[in-house]
């Protein structure tokens, strides 16, 4: 958690922090060295001074100490303390070998005859000084061959040394603090400067995440030298190539759109052309047998429905993607019409169209897309069926759904075609123009909520079944 927080800090914070930490470390190490040297120097100095003080005092009191001449020793201490002012002696005590005070610089604290406990100032330790302490202690044992004559205990005021040490500590702390701050600031400044190109780049990349990648302006690139200059130029080249690719993609899509329009146009032409043979047939029938009432009525009906079909194709084409089609319901005659519409093409190929129309009433489904879809299927079936074979179309409906099957005895619909038929929403329009009829059929049936199944019967060929649910609500609305 903590670590991840630290990792998430910007580099402009991390580097100065690292610099500051390193400087603190260096400062601490240096300070430690300086202070230790200072302590050594102070201690050495103090030892030298105190030894010279003790030497002088020893020689001054040596004759008096055996006599235990209180006054002479006191006077010698007073003189020694006055002479060695630089050493700041605060207290000097002279005892005899038994620890009994002969004289002290402050006789009121250590009266003549009182005993100095050897424990609190061990005679063995000739000098003791703690760095930063307010006082230092020195002990000198005056001995003549064979016996101890007396002991000098001296205490020196080292507050000036402690103060000096304190001053040094403060100076070190201030210097290190200032240096650390300056270096951290310099680190921040340098990193901020060094990171400037990275920021520019990341800003541009950030923009690219939302919209299109933007080129870094040329004046910034020209000002940036070195690696970052190369990086910027590389980035700009990348942006340029991305843009080119995008333009290319757009052009391709446009071309595709135009291509599919062309194919659509050919389909429309196809749709219109197909029933035309039947219509001409009806015209020919009218011309020769128009005087017969029943024939005339059938032919006129055929003509009318054919023309309506053509109109519907044109309309359907115009509104191929529209879902709100207001059209008439599918009538049983629509299925028969399809048979008639395909008949000319079938005849040309010597193929027999067999229609099983089980519809008795009109079904509340829009006739146009169904007609178009079934016509497409029939055209495909006729195209696939071998000469002289049979194409069967059957239509039946119950209260829930309409089912129309077109079966041929051809070599079988290729997998890709079946895929296009069965998955209308996934498949894009075929690029190569092939299977456009299948694609259109698929879209049309999907548009009215229907489903397409492709089967390959054991006796060969292909059976395509459309199942279109009949919407009751729609029916009631209509009613």
């Amino acid at each position: 958690m903590q670590m991840s927080l630290v990792r998430s800090w910007p580099i402009t914070v991390k580097v100065p922090l690292a610099v500051a930490s390193l400087m603190l470390l260096v400062g601490l190490v240096l300070s430690e060295r300086v202070l230790s040297r200072l302590t050594d120097t102070q201690q050495r100095h103090l030892i030298e001074l105190s030894q010279s003080y003790l030497d002088g005092l020893s020689s001054a009191i040596a004759p008096s100490i055996l006599r235990e001449d209180n006054w002479e020793i006191f006077d010698a201490i007073a003189r020694a303390q006055a002479v060695n002012k630089s050493l700041h002696p605060v207290e000097t005590i002279v005892t005899n070998a038994d620890g009994i005070v002969i004289a002290a610089s402050d006789p009121k604290r250590h009266p003549v005859g009182s005993i100095i406990e050897p424990t609190h100032k061990a005679p063995s330790a000739s000098f003791s000084f703690d760095a930063g302490a307010d006082s230092a202690n020195a002990v000198r044992v005056l001995s003549y061959p064979g016996r101890v004559a007396g002991i000098i205990y001296a205490t020196f005021d080292t507050r000036h040394l402690a103060a000096e040490r304190r001053d040094v500590v403060i100076a070190l702390a201030l210097t290190n603090g200032a240096l650390t701050f300056l270096l951290a600031a310099a680190g921040w400044f340098l990193v901020a400067r060094m990171m400037q190109p990275v920021r520019i780049l990341s800003d541009h990349l950030g923009v690219a995440r939302e919209t299109l990648a933007v080129r870094i302006p040329e004046e910034i690139v020209s000002k940036t030298k070195g690696e970052f200059g190369r990086l910027f130029r590389g980035y700009n080249a990348l942006v340029r190539s991305m843009k080119e690719r995008e333009d290319l993609g757009k052009r391709l899509a446009e071309e595709k759109r135009l291509g599919s329009l062309g194919r659509l146009a050919s389909t429309v032409a196809h749709e219109i052309n197909n029933p035309l043979g039947g219509l001409f047939n009806a015209l020919a029938t009218l011309r020769s047998h128009g005087h017969i009432n029943s024939v005339r009525d059938v032919s006129l009906g055929l003509l009318e429905r054919g023309l309506i079909g053509i109109r519907d194709v044109v309309r359907t084409t115009l509104t191929i993607y529209r879902t709100d089609r207001v059209a008439r319901n599918l009538a049983p005659t629509d299925i028969d019409d399809l048979g008639l519409l395909i008949a000319p093409e079938a005849r040309r190929r010597g193929i027999q169209i067999e229609t099983e129309n089980a519809l008795r009433d009109s079904v509340s489904l829009s006739s146009t897309p169904i007609r178009q879809a079934v016509l497409n299927l029939l055209l495909n079936a006729v195209a696939a069926a071998p000469d002289g074979s049979q194409v069967r179309m059957s239509a039946q409906a119950d209260s829930d759904s309409l089912e129309i099957t077109v079966a041929d005895r051809g070599p079988g619909l290729p997998r890709a075609g079946a895929e296009i038929l069965m998955s209308p929403n996934v498949a894009p329009p075929p690029l190569d123009g092939g299977g456009l009829g299948l694609w259109t059929t698929s879209r049309l049936i999907a548009g009215i909520g229907g489903q397409i199944d492709v089967e390959y019967p054991v006796y060969g060929g292909t059976a395509v079944t459309l199942r279109i649910p009949i919407a009751r609500v729609e029916l009631s609305n209509v009613a």
Binding site: N70, R79, V112, G113
Partner: protein, 293 residues
């Protein structure tokens, strides 16, 4: 009166002075004496700048006597007394106690006048804050004397104890000599000694000149008025004429500007000729002490 000088005089100077004196006392003394140099011994009570005082005193004496003057100082009274009685000094400023002790060998030359009287007292001093009413409260003390040959700094206290059949060594826990009255004040003031015997004249002048030194002490007891430390000469003078001119110079010191300056430094009014009976009270004390053993 002694090491009051020592503590201000450079040790090396004293050493060379002592060496030259040693030479003088062995062989060349006689030659110098006959050449007319006045040798004047001092057990000084001097309090201000000793060297300046010595210089001015020497200058005054040389000018008024017309003789070269050599001022001789020693650490102890005893040494000066010994030089005087052995005829190596024309005269010396000594204490009343050695004067009465060597009465037969010495003659009185002059006595200083302090507050117009040839008298002074001995003080028994203690720490300022000490609760004590008299000498007997000081039993078991560490006591500072100034000099075993000093009247005020030793004899008076010893005699006071002898009157009560006491001796310093039994009465006090410990005693020591500082060989200077000023140092007795220092010893008591610092607490090194619990009490001290000191020259009242020195004490009063010190309290005027160095009040901080005496401020830490107080006078527990003052003795009766006693003869001021006198100028004495060997009973048989080395040179009668020289002694007379020296005596005159001393007696007329307050009539001379330089002499008055010297007296001012000593806080004295002059010198007078006095009856040696002035020192009878001191000889009584000496006798008492001698009787007590």
């Amino acid at each position: 009166m002694g090491s009051g000088l020592n503590h201000q005089v450079d040790r090396r100077a004293l050493l060379s002075a002592a060496t030259s004196l040693l030479i003088a006392s062995t062989g060349r003394a006689a030659a110098q004496n006959t050449s007319g140099t006045i040798r004047f011994g001092l057990t000084p009570v001097f309090l201000t700048n000793d060297l300046e005082l010595l210089g001015r005193l020497q200058s005054y004496l040389q000018r008024t006597t017309g003789h070269p003057v050599s001022l001789i100082t020693r650490r102890t009274y005893q040494e000066i007394t010994a030089l005087l009685t052995s005829g190596q000094l024309d005269a010396a400023w000594i204490c009343g106690f050695p004067f009465v002790a060597r009465r037969s060998e010495l003659q009185l030359v002059a006595v200083p006048l302090w507050h117009q009287r040839p008298l002074y007292q001995s003080y028994l001093i203690v720490d300022r804050d000490r609760r004590a009413d008299g000498l007997l409260d000081l039993r078991g003390d560490i006591h500072a004397f100034s000099d075993p040959d000093s009247n005020s700094g030793f004899l008076v206290t010893r005699a006071a104890l002898a009157e009560r059949s006491l001796k310093p060594e039994g009465f006090f826990r410990k005693t020591f000599f500082t060989y200077g009255h000023r140092d007795v004040i220092r010893a008591v003031g610092s607490g090194l000694a619990g009490s001290g015997s000191v020259d009242g004249y020195v004490y009063d002048v010190v309290s005027e000149l160095e009040p901080s030194l005496t401020a830490r002490t107080r006078i527990l007891e003052a003795s009766e008025w006693l003869g001021f430390p006198p100028i004495a000469a060997p009973k048989a003078p080395i040179d009668e004429t020289r002694l007379n001119t020296l005596t005159n110079a001393l007696l007329k010191m307050n009539e001379d500007e330089e002499g008055r300056a010297v007296l001012q430094m000593l806080r004295l009014d002059g010198f007078a000729v006095e009856d040696p009976k002035l020192f009878d009270t001191i000889s009584t004390k000496a006798a008492l002490v001698a009787a007590a053993g």
